[in-house]
């Protein structure tokens, strides 16, 4: 181990760096954490919009490494750049917001998965659909399994509300944040 006594770099210097990086188009992915009633969320956005949301159970380091590989390694932590996203999520958890307005970057979804996820995004607050409904909306009624993975590997849960998709028999199916979270979200939305 080195016995370094290097002082940490000031917040101001790091902020100036982020500002200049963004101004020069060098901030491809900005990320920040956000508190929620379920634990800490990790939000990541590109200049186009929110691209990824990590639920409390997800491995943050793995998620960022994955974004570095799939989008760009120019990944920087930048809390201020995600203020709007954090505000909308706070309002959602407080029951004050029923639809998100923040811009979404869909680049991690293509083809059937993209259509299915856009279908999920259109499910109104407080309502649910089945995986079969979703497959139909995405253009292939028989692709129920693929509709399932449009949900299970949804890059932006909550904002693309895959918790509103259930099995045809009414049972919960799965959820990246755990079934208890899915259940509580549905109850919160029904109660509002």
């Amino acid at each position: 181990m080195t016995t370094t006594i290097d002082k940490p770099v000031s917040k101001k210097a790091l902020e100036a760096l982020r500002e200049r990086a963004a101004a020069e188009g060098l901030l491809d992915v900005a990320y920040a954490t956000a508190d929620s009633p379920f634990g800490t969320l990790l939000l990541a956005k590109t200049p186009r919009g929110l691209v990824r949301l990590g639920l409390p159970g997800e491995d943050a380091e793995e998620m960022l490494a994955d974004l570095a590989g799939r989008i760009s390694p120019r990944v920087l932590e930048d809390a201020a750049r995600l203020d709007e996203e954090r505000r909308e999520l706070d309002d959602y958890f407080a029951g004050r917001r029923h639809a998100f307005e923040l811009p979404i970057d869909w680049q991690l979804s293509n083809g059937f998965l993209l259509r299915a996820r856009q279908g999920i995004a259109a499910i109104p607050y407080g309502e649910t659909r089945t995986y079969t409904d979703l497959a139909r909306v995405a253009g292939n009624e028989r692709a129920v399994r693929a509709a399932g993975s449009a949900c299970s590997r949804n890059p932006i849960p909550l904002v693309i509300p895959c918790h509103r998709v259930l099995r045809s028999d009414g049972s919960l199916g799965g959820y990246a944040g755990g079934l208890e979270m899915k259940q509580r979200l549905l109850e919160m939305e029904r109660g509002a």
Partner: protein
């Protein structure tokens, strides 16, 4: 393609050291600017970086280039250096902070000479060019700086 870690990890792991190197090389006032320049240059080049084995050395190399730019911009070096080394060097492990702290406290010319010699590994002629003085004067600054460091750190 090399698996590049998210750039933030480079900042988390190496920003403090890069800032330390720059304080030593250009002084406290110039260091913040040089720090921005260093990390912006790194960020610009990062996606096409092939060799990820020594990210620290890569950053420190860029920092030294920016320190030289800084000295040149301040008019100390009208003579361009023939060639700046491009390869990342593995700099020695100077029982870090204590030594750099003492280096930072040196008068500007001595500080620059010591840093360019030992951190950037430049020969006397190039140090002279960077500082805009004769090789003999560069040698003298280096000598004086080292003498003072020995005293400080003894």
């Amino acid at each position: 393609m090399a698996d590049l870690p998210p750039f933030q990890t480079l900042i988390d792991e190496h920003a403090a050291e890069v800032m330390g190197v720059l304080r030593g090389a250009v002084g406290r006032e110039g260091a913040e600017d040089a720090f921005q320049e260093t990390f912006l240059a790194a960020l610009r080049a990062y996606p096409s970086l092939r060799d990820t084995r020594n990210l620290r050395g890569w950053l420190v190399t860029i920092a030294h280039r920016k320190a030289i730019d800084h000295h040149r911009a301040r008019g100390r070096a009208p003579v361009p250096i023939a060639e700046v080394r491009e390869e990342a060097f593995t700099d020695p492990d100077p029982a870090d902070g204590a030594i750099w702290g003492a280096v930072a406290a040196l008068p500007p010319k001595q500080r620059a000479a010591v840093t360019l010699r030992f951190a950037s590994d430049l020969p006397h002629e190039e140090i002279a060019a960077a500082l805009g003085c004769s090789p003999a004067a560069a040698r003298r600054s280096l000598h004086e700086g080292l003498k003072r460091l020995r005293k400080e750190l003894a």
